[in-house]
Amino acid sequence: MLLQEVAAAGAHPLSGTVATWMWLLPLLPLAGFVLNGALALAATYRRGPSDPTVHADHTHGAGHDTGHAGTAHPDHDTAHHAPTRHRYAGLVSIIGPAVLFAAFGLALSIFGAMTRVDHLEQPFVQRYFTWMATGDLRIDAAFQLDQLSMIMVLVITGVGALIHLFSIGYMRDDPGYPRFFAYLNLFVFFMLVLVLGASYPVMFIGWEGVGLCSYLLIGFWFSDTANADAGKKAFIVNRIGDFGFLIAMFLLYAHIASLDFVGISQRAADLAPGIVTAICLFLFLGCAGKSAQIPLYVWLPDAMAGPTPVSALIHAATMVTAGVYLVARSAVLFALSPVASLTVAVVGALTALLAATIGLKQWDIKRVLAYSTVSQLGYMFVGVGVGAYTAGIFHLVTHAFFKALLFLGSGSVIFAMHRAYHATHSHADAQDMRNMGGLRRYLPWTFALMWIATLAIAGIPLFSGFFSKDEILAGVFARAGHSTLADVSWFGIPGNVLLYAIYGIGLFTALLTAIYMTRMMLYTFHGPNRTGETERSHLAEAPWVMTLPLVVLGVLSAIGGWLNIPELMRFLGPPQWLHHWLDPVVGAPALAVTGGAPVHLTHQTEYMLIGAAVVIAVAGILFAVARLKPARLVPKAQAVPERGFARVLANKWYVDELYDRSVVRPLVGGSRRLLWTVTDKWLIDGLLVNGSARLTGFFGRIGSYWQTGNVSTYAWAIVIGVLVVLGAFTLR
């Protein structure tokens, strides 16, 4: 049954080509996980005694994998201690990245095959076996390859391979080295299953799988309570999102009895508007959980407790963008419900704004980048929310490049800082910008490449960020004038007013982005060095294995924009390549949103929009350069705590504390006091169960008390008995 189905899909143009090997894409990282995992366990597992109870008290079980470096820094990733490399480090550092590069190579060849086929209308679906089939539910384990999933596969395997390369250097002396690569490979496997899944349940496997891997990787150094807590928080918040995803699936199944994308796109039209909106809103709840949007974004900043490559791969490039991919994949549904799309756009915009404001006042370099990621994700959701799916995906791709670069850059900075502090045994925070400053003299490569990324993210022309962010803003502006979204009203606010407001917020956030990115660059690389006299000599550029991926990413974030050059700038190269590439997948729904005809802006308005964006970007950078005086900064130890509005921002608008007091504490306290103690112990157990036992016991004691032992009592009992019996006769 397995193989005939694969062969049957003969009709598709891609069926003969290398695309038929697409199941190998996820299988390679899975193999990597199994191998690395085996190596990790083989190194640390020592078989216990046959009779553990007798053996319990007097043997010494010393596991190798001490899980954490010697110096007990609470929440910073101090990568290494005495440079003892893990026994299998060499083998693992070959398997890990090799598996990824192989997958990337396969992806490229499949991409090549896809481009050779001229117009690919139908997605290439391979069914392997029936996963679940009961009643009229039938879910197959099937993969679907189309233009959208191809782009995602390329990003995942490409950026993933680079990050694996980077991790070889970054995690070199960590005792959990094979375990790290095992989890990283497992993550890539689940991410590929997510993007290649042909139906929502198969996608859900990937969806929760990546949640699991982010849990394992955030809490990688689990001997610190903070890291373990961050991991748990991430998983549970993701799980809340998954709850939404599940409900959406149930709604879909209840109303159109099919869960695979092909089936849904055919039958989506006959769904009632209310149902479609409900489905889309629940789907978006899932996205909010996974891609850290309001209100479920709180886990991403804490996720920085994981090693930096993890932050780069999972919490910047791939996993967090799964939400955007989900909305793009369900474009058919979102196009049918303008209200839901508007909600996505509004939440995206608000998240972007909120995260940007918090980003202004963060001192930990990774937290700045984390909030910047949340903010950029907000942008992508604005893009896919308003129906500009291509723009959203485009920003996703470019963001993957420059955000990965920024994170890896900050990784090499932290690596250098930690090496310096380690040399002088100081316990200063290797991630706090106040301890850095003037690093451009010591880390020239990282300095230059991070400036490229900063310019890209700020939206300076010709860099990738400019093209993708501008496309989103232009998309919003265009749809404000003429689209189904504009006509509908969202909680009383008419659509077009809302869209213009979103455009305004988008611009202002772009300004904030430019400011806090420049602020980060200034405090880290410019001005006097604050690391400390003795440590300064130890600051040096990271080894080439870490800097090479930076260079590649630098190039990509510079020329990333080339992917989808706007009409206006035809002179730069083939215009709208990504737009035409994604047209078969998201073209129809995009048109549906803009009322049948593709929206187009007059040249004047386009120039005006581009002009505004450029002005904003440049103004932001100049404002930061003018206002911020890196020279006046002092190392973290002597830093004075902020006051007023700055403190509110530094404490993340106290959102974590709000959640804790309003949800977590009442839930835990309530269930301990109210549910367990009161209902379980007193009410059911105490009152009913033991109560009835004590009652019968009490009556028993009364009975035995009346058994006085003297004959006359007994005689009286008999006489009373006689009277009762005779009495019973008379009154019948």
């Binding site: 019968t696 028993g700 035995s704 009592t713 007994y714 008999i718 008995g721 006689v722 005779l726 019973a728």
Partner: protein, 506 residues
């Protein structure tokens, strides 16, 4: 063949097994009184008594097999009687076996104990055969007087004497009521023969005659005392605790069997047509007995008192069979008594095996951790406890016994609420039955607790046979069930000649 009870020869043949037993008992009485008291004599008399009982059982089974019937007369000749006789003799044999060992261990070289047991058994067989209130009175008195003495057998212990006194005084007192009941019934119907009474009640429509109802009421009181039903039960715990344990076992098993046989026979033959007038009091009596028996048993710390209350509770369950008072009730009674006798006898046998000389060691907590020292005994005790609780398979026939009573109760006219009472009180009974099992199996054996002595031969035999039969019937109840279903009291069919009761002269 059909006995015409008017002719003395036929009557004698009809009473053959009873006469055989009584004759044998007389001989044994002389034998035991002849020589000096000694343990060997006591054991010899004991052995002979058992042989006599076995012979009687043989005679009963022969009469049963022959399928004799009889005309209306003083005694009944029907399978119900033979079945009850077998049960009573089973109880007697087990009691004799237990008492042989017990008397030897306690140093009471009273051979007459066995003779008294035989006398009591004779009385009970008479009761089982009784079809005339006069014979009922005779049987009860013969049985009771023998058992009064048995209760006080151990001259050295004050408690035994007290038990005997209480049993005697209250026994005589209740016999007074029973007798007065018989007199009133005689007064109302003009005859003491159960069948005639029944016919008279029907013929002359005496259902609402106050004198008859008062008589029936007093009859219920008299029999309830013997059966230890609730308001009249207060003597049971004291007498059971005071009396020597084998005698207690005999009282709990055989006495109850005989008393209920009479209860059933009277109510099925004499008073079926009182359109349920007696139904209500018996119903309340049954429920009150079950509740008092089970609930007070929870508070008991002495194993013999606990088993006493447990026997009261079982009297309650049997009363349910009486309340139902149809053929199902009779067969349910037979099966129930069979299982109950085995379980109670077995339980008391274990109590004997575990108690020290001089009636010591009867506190349930003395059995703590017994399983670790005496696994065989504790498993047997667990089986008996679960049988009394009515647990399937592990409790063996006990389950089917209670099941049969429940089934009889639920038959139309169904007494569903009575069935619910049986079930709820059974749950309460789990409280004390399982306490014994828990103490034995789950509590640690205290270091200083004395290891119980070797279990004498006969007691070990009694425990083993009771447990094995119980478990066997529990898995394969068909043979006993078939016997119970077929041996029904042969009721006088109204087609027979009507009584010649003389019209009352003014």
């Amino acid at each position: 063949m059909r006995f015409d009870l008017a002719r003395p020869l036929d009557l004698a043949i009809a009473l053959a097994p009873d006469l055989l037993l009584m004759a044998g008992t007389m001989i044994l009485l002389l034998a035991s009184a002849w020589g000096a008291e000694s343990p060997q004599r006591q054991r010899a008399v004991g052995r002979w008594s058992i042989i006599l009982c076995v012979l009687t059982v043989g005679a009963v089974i022969y009469m049963w097999w022959a399928g004799h019937t009889a005309t209306r007369g003083v005694i009944a000749v029907d399978p119900f009687r033979w079945a009850t006789d077998v049960l009573i003799l089973l109880g007697a044999i087990l009691a004799l076996a237990l008492s042989m060992d017990y008397l030897e261990r306690e140093g009471i070289d009273v051979a007459e104990a066995h003779v008294l047991i035989l006398f009591a058994t004779a009385g009970m067989m008479l009761l089982a055969a009784a079809r005339d209130l006069m014979i009922v009175f005779l049987g009860i008195e013969l049985m009771s007087i023998a058992v009064y003495v048995l209760a006080g057998l151990n001259r050295r212990s004050g408690r035994a004497a007290e038990a005997a006194l209480k049993y005697f005084l209250l026994g005589a007192f209740s016999t007074g009521f029973l007798l007065y009941g018989i007199a009133l019934v005689f007064g109302a119907t003009g005859s003491t023969n159960i069948a005639d009474i029944g016919a008279a009640v029907l013929a002359r429509g005496l259902a609402t005659n106050p004198m008859l109802l008062a008589g029936v009421g007093l009859l219920i009181v008299g029999l309830s005392f013997k059966v230890a039903a609730a308001p009249f039960h207060m003597w049971t715990p004291d007498v059971y605790e005071g009396a020597p344990t084998p005698m207690t076992a005999f009282m709990a098993a055989a006495v109850k069997a005989a008393a209920f046989a009479v209860f059933l026979r009277i109510w099925m033959e004499a008073f079926p047509y009182l359109n349920g007038a007696w139904h209500k009091p018996l119903w309340y009596l049954a429920v009150f007995t079950m509740v008092v028996g089970n609930v007070v048993a929870l508070a008991q710390k002495n194993i013999k008192r606990m088993l006493a209350y447990s026997s009261i509770a079982h009297a309650g369950y049997l009363l349910v069979a009486v309340v139902v008072s149809n053929f199902e009730g009779a067969s349910a009674y037979l099966f129930y008594i069979f299982a109950y006798t085995l379980a109670t006898m077995g339980a008391f046998a274990v109590v004997i095996a575990l108690s020290q000389v001089g009636e010591g060691g009867h506190q349930i907590d003395d059995y703590a951790g017994l399983w670790r020292v005496r696994p065989g005994l504790s498993i047997a005790m667990a089986v008996f406890m679960l049988a009394l609780l009515g647990f399937p398979i592990f409790g063996g026939a006990g389950f089917f016994a209670k099941w049969y009573v429940l089934q009889a109760a639920l038959r139309p006219p169904s007494q569903t609420n009575l069935a619910i009472w049986v079930v709820l009180t059974s749950v309460v009974s789990a409280g004390y039955y399982l306490y014994v099992v828990m103490v034995m199996f789950m509590k640690p054996r205290p270091a200083e607790a004395p290891a119980p002595g070797r279990v004498p031969g006969m007691t070990r035999f009694v425990i083993a046979t009771c447990a094995i039969i119980l478990l066997a019937v529990g898995v394969w109840p068909r043979p006993v069930l078939r016997v119970a279903r077929q041996s029904l009291p042969q009721l006088v069919h109204l087609s027979e000649d009507l009584p010649r009761a003389p019209a009352p002269q003014r």
